[in-house]
């Protein structure tokens, strides 16, 4: 029996990460298999003026396609989307992305909170939020919104994080359903995928 009590009504996964999350993201993307049944939406802190290279770096080992969405692009399952440099990434009713150049939030653009919060609003209890290693508090409020709307919340185990400020901030602000190592996040996603067969 699994400890996760999973089902196949989730519609999306959203991942936030900052300092120290890159290796973890690479590992997750390399272990998730092609044809993953949900969209994976990633807001990762990154250099604002470097438009290129990040998708390529993430793609090297990934089994699924990685895309930096354009404004109003439709959200499709089996693709991992990455918030572009210097833009906030939101999801909209109607299941498409929108970009914005609003002020930085938590000193960040893209801000994890914006992506998480708009995803919580759109997907409600059909969303899984995952927050990884990072050095600031971005993402905590977004995780709370996911939880408040009935979604599932996961943080990377602070003991494993290069910098644990981000997952700890979420843990102190809201209920986190699972605190997992990267390997267990991978196992979780594989098990989740089984439910969609």
């Amino acid at each position: 029996m699994s400890r996760y009590n999973l089902h196949n009504s989730y519609k999306a996964i959203v991942i936030g990460g900052s300092a120290g999350s890159f290796q973890g993201i690479i590992k997750i993307l390399s272990q998730v298999s092609a044809g993953f049944p949900l969209p994976i939406i990633m807001a990762l802190h990154r250099l604002k003026h470097v438009r290129h290279g990040f998708v390529e770096a993430l793609s090297i080992k990934s089994n699924i396609k990685i895309v930096e969405p354009e404004d109003k692009e439709s959200i499709r399952k089996g693709i991992a989307y990455l918030a572009p440099a210097n833009y906030h990434l939101s999801v909209e009713l109607g299941n498409y992305f929108s970009l914005s150049t609003e002020e930085m939030v938590n000193n960040s653009r893209p801000a994890i909170d914006i992506t998480l919060s708009s995803s919580a609003y759109l997907y409600r209890n059909k969303l899984i939020g995952i927050l990884l290693s990072g050095a600031n508090r971005d993402g905590a409020v977004g995780m709370k919104q996911i939880k408040d709307k009935g979604g599932l919340t996961i943080v990377q185990d602070p003991a494993e994080c290069m910098i644990d400020t981000m997952p700890k901030a979420a843990l102190s602000l809201t209920t986190i359903d699972h605190t997992l190592s990267i390997d267990n996040i991978v196992a979780f996603l594989k098990e989740l995928q089984q439910h969609y067969k």
């Binding site: 404004d71 906030h88 999801v91 929108s98 970009l99 914005s100 609003e102």
Partner: protein, 274 residues
């Protein structure tokens, strides 16, 4: 603090502004619109009801409200690669057929894009051959643009972009520092006329050789983007250029076939059909 608004609240606001003030925000992208309204409520210590009351009872409040609602964040030489493309291909392309030409900055915000354009044109020796119209919906931000004065702390980003653009000098050649502000040489605005213009309700008002509308239509939904592209089409001479933000797209617009892609990376299009 209010952290969530429902669609009904947002609708009350858009309907009221439309009825009272003639601005139409019904087709703005919802998530950023909602965040802007929440921000206005928070900064002003308002609730939806007090906001609605203020919008209907205080005629002057609308300008502040619009200033809070619109996203004015901008940079000089934002996306330096785009500006290099303008200098090396687009402007030379326009010059093949015209000695003098006209540029429209639609959604010019506080004017950084306009100053960048004129610095580039000046360095190309072309400033006197170009007429620029710069428009925005937000009158508060247009006043800032006219003053050509910016907080010094913004200049670090601007300087970095200018260096990546590979300008001829240092950006410092174009402004002086005073009380924590960078005051640009007013000469840099002498060929510019700033006007309030609403892309949603306003009409095409002139013809241009180049239109820049960068990071403005991201705040619109697809239906509105489609409408606004028609206005841009109407406002361009045949073979005129349109530049949008690097992460924007026109592919779902009805008029897309009247344009060709000049540069996919920097999102520059050319009108080829009337």
């Amino acid at each position: 603090m209010i952290t969530e608004l429902d669609i009904a609240d947002l609708k009350k606001i858009t309907e009221l502004i439309l009825q009272r003030h003639g601005y139409d925000f019904r087709d703005y992208a919802m998530s950023s619109f909602k965040r802007r309204v929440l921000r206005i409520l928070e900064l002003g210590g308002l609730t939806i009801d007090t906001l609605l009351k203020q919008l209907s009872d205080q005629p002057d409040y609308i300008n502040d409200f619009l200033d809070g609602l619109t996203v004015n964040v901008t940079e000089m030489f934002r996306d330096p690669g785009f500006w290099r493309l303008l200098r090396e291909e687009i402007i030379p392309g326009i010059l093949l057929n015209n000695k003098q030409f006209k540029i429209w900055h639609a959604g010019c915000s506080s004017g950084e894009e306009v100053i960048s354009m004129n610095i580039m044109l000046k360095e190309m020796g072309l400033m006197n051959d170009v007429t620029i119209i710069a428009t925005d919906l937000d009158t508060v931000i247009l006043d800032k643009a006219k003053s050509a004065t910016y907080p010094l702390k913004n200049m670090e980003v601007n300087e970095k972009n200018y260096i990546r653009f590979q300008g001829k000098y240092s950006l410092k050649n174009y402004y002086r520092e005073e009380n924590g502000r960078a005051i640009f040489n007013p000469e840099l605005l002498k060929n510019v006329s700033f006007r309030r213009h609403d892309l949603v309700t306003g009409d095409a008002f002139n013809k241009f050789d180049l239109i820049l509308c960068r990071n403005v239509m991201i705040y619109f939904n697809q239906a509105l983007q489609n409408q606004v592209l028609k206005k841009f089409h109407n406002s361009l001479f045949k073979y005129g250029y349109l530049a949008i933000g690097t992460k924007e797209s026109l592919i779902w617009c009805e008029y897309v076939n009247r344009f060709i892609v000049v540069n996919q990376e920097e999102k520059v299009y050319k009108k080829i059909k009337d």
